[in-house]
């Protein structure tokens, strides 16, 4: 089931004009604050009536201003996880979870409450009230409540934004499991690339009320043209990698990517495990000849696929390495000096220390990970990758 959205709405000093389609899986609605993301999800949920628009979930038309169709919010069956949880303070966790089910239509396919409780790890909280939960626990209950209301689609509006880093890391694995074990399309609003990397299969990048880029996550994130919307500091490509082995002597893990091999500081995963690596554009250097006498261990043959020059001195260069894409941040001067142009063969140099631990996805049951090798929801060790490379 897919979600098709087309909206036009005008506020004072802000115009929304967005059109996109979200397939199965998690679609990240990405953009800086003020890009119009929340307006989009509120219009989908029926909490806001746009000037014009059409929203269709599967075969059901939720909104079509052209034909005068606008289902009220409570008849849309759109699950909504709010930034601040919004649990009912007078009900226990169990009653909060059951709330949506009371109102779900008879015969609607609902997720199994026991399974959701188990996935989210909230079994010990069932008889408590929201006032006594931590921020992370509240958000887990809110996610469960939305899942259990038999929604056609699920909207998550920055569900992790109000949490600190450890709490975010606590919830991400649960979301990954939910994505793997339920069949509800999810529209996930975020301004954090790190979250998207872990979760999204599709990315819709919004900027100033418009859809700037949309497509498969790996493509959008490695598209030089998308760099202005993502921000050069956050920009970076996703690589699918498989663990080939661990070298105890050097403390390095050897991974296979489609363009060659990478050696990275030890990654705690089994041999054969598939994972996704996020490589920041800043950490990729381009050479036109295979370099020698270099401390960097990782050199991948590549071809320039696209170049985006910004207004400053920098340029974003898209590279194709095997079936993977890479993104490099260089200066415009270097683009001229090296004569970079689409189609030109080159080498991408990735520093071994560049891949931050939190950017390795798929250690849990992520979309790129194979389910059987994934350990169940481990807590992340943020310091694991800070060792200097040899």
């Amino acid at each position: 089931m897919s979600l098709d959205v087309s909206l036009r709405h005008r506020f004072e000093g802000f115009a929304l004009n967005a059109e996109f389609s979200a397939p199965d899986g998690i679609t990240a609605l990405f953009g800086r604050s003020g890009a119009g993301k929340t307006t989009v999800v509120e219009a989908i949920a029926g909490l806001l009536r746009p000037d014009e628009g059409r929203v269709e979930a599967g075969d059901t038309v939720l909104l079509d201003t052209g034909r005068g169709v606008a289902l009220p919010a409570h008849r849309r069956r759109v699950g909504y996880v709010f930034q601040e949880g919004r649990l009912f303070p007078h009900l226990t966790v169990r009653q909060n979870l059951a709330f949506g089910r009371w109102f779900a239509p008879r015969g609607a396919e609902t997720e199994d409450i026991g399974q959701i409780v188990e996935i989210l790890g909230i079994g010990h909280l069932l008889d408590r009230r929201p006032g006594r939960l931590s921020g992370g626990e509240k958000q887990r209950v809110a996610i469960g409540r939305a899942f259990l209301s038999a929604p056609r689609i699920l909207l998550m509006d920055e569900p992790l934004a109000s949490l600190d880093q450890p709490r975010k890391a606590e919830i991400l694995p649960y979301l990954q499991r939910l994505r793997a074990e339920t069949r509800i399309p999810i529209l996930y609003v975020s301004h954090s690339v790190a979250e998207i990397v872990h979760l999204a299969t599709t990315v819709v990048a919004m900027s100033r009320g418009r859809v700037a880029r949309s497509g498969p996550a790996a493509e959008v994130l490695s598209d030089p043209e998308a760099v202005p919307f993502i921000g050069i500091d956050e920009a970076g490509a996703l690589l699918s990698a498989t663990i080939l082995g661990h070298d105890a002597a050097t403390g390095l893990t050897v991974l296979s990517v489609s363009g060659g091999r990478l050696q990275l500081p030890h990654i705690d995963a089994a041999i054969g495990a598939a994972l996704s690596l996020r490589i920041h554009a800043e950490d990729v250097i381009i050479a036109t000849e295979k370099p020698t006498g270099l401390s960097a261990l990782n050199i991948l043959p590549a071809t320039v696929s696209a170049i985006h020059e910004g207004e400053g001195p920098g340029a974003a260069v898209g590279l194709q390495s095997g079936t993977d894409r890479l993104l490099a941040r260089v200066t415009r001067r270097s683009v001229r000096a090296l004569g970079l142009a689409p189609g030109k063969p080159c080498y991408a140099i990735v520093n071994s220390t560049a891949v931050a631990r939190s950017d390795i996805g798929g250690l849990e049951t992520g979309g790129w990970a194979s389910l059987d090798t994934a350990p169940a929801a481990p807590t992340r060790d943020e310091d694991g990758m800070k060792n200097p490379s040899p």
Binding site: H74, P89, F103, S149
Partner: protein
Amino acid sequence: MIDWLSAEEWTAVRLSIRVAFWATLASLPFGVATALLLARGRFWGRQILNLLVHLPLVIPPVATGYLLLILFGRQGPIGGFLMDSFGIVFAFRWTGAALAAAIMAFPLMVRAIWLAMEAVDSRLEEAAATLGASRTWTFLVVTLPLILPGIVAGAILAFAKAMGEFGATITFVSNIPGETQTLPSAIYAFLQVPGGESSAVRLVVVSIAVAMAALLASEFVSRRIARWVAAR
């Protein structure tokens, strides 16, 4: 305690409690509905409704009583209709005393519930809608439980006010012992006759005690409910 008050005094106390109880109970649904309209309604005439509700608070109680007499008297437009159609009579009956007390206490009740309603996070009601609850259900299972402390506080406040209502009551239903002679009316009557002062003093003590007990109960109950609702 029984011996402490004369039979006549007891009658006044019992009648007052009956009048205040029914005045509160019968006006409560209207109080909640009015508070809901005032807090959430966006309709033409909202300010007029607001004004009407608060009128008994600011005009002389005697004037309110007189207006009730005109409207709800046997010859009045509403009173005549109710008597002919349903056989309900307000004038010079204890039911009339309850009506007068209810009208006089109404602004206090509405204000307490209104305040509680303003304090309810409307984002919770949005959340209920996304979970499939219609407006009515949302009100019943989300809004109503959350404003329960306000409703209880408003009801007890209204009860205390109804116990003490005098001006509108005596104007509308007069001062008939056993039928419409409530506590304040009885105190007034005792003060008019020689030697009635000791009875008046005893009834004053009773009124103070009842009023204090009501206020304390209101505090206590609404705190308990608030704690239950928020589960701190």
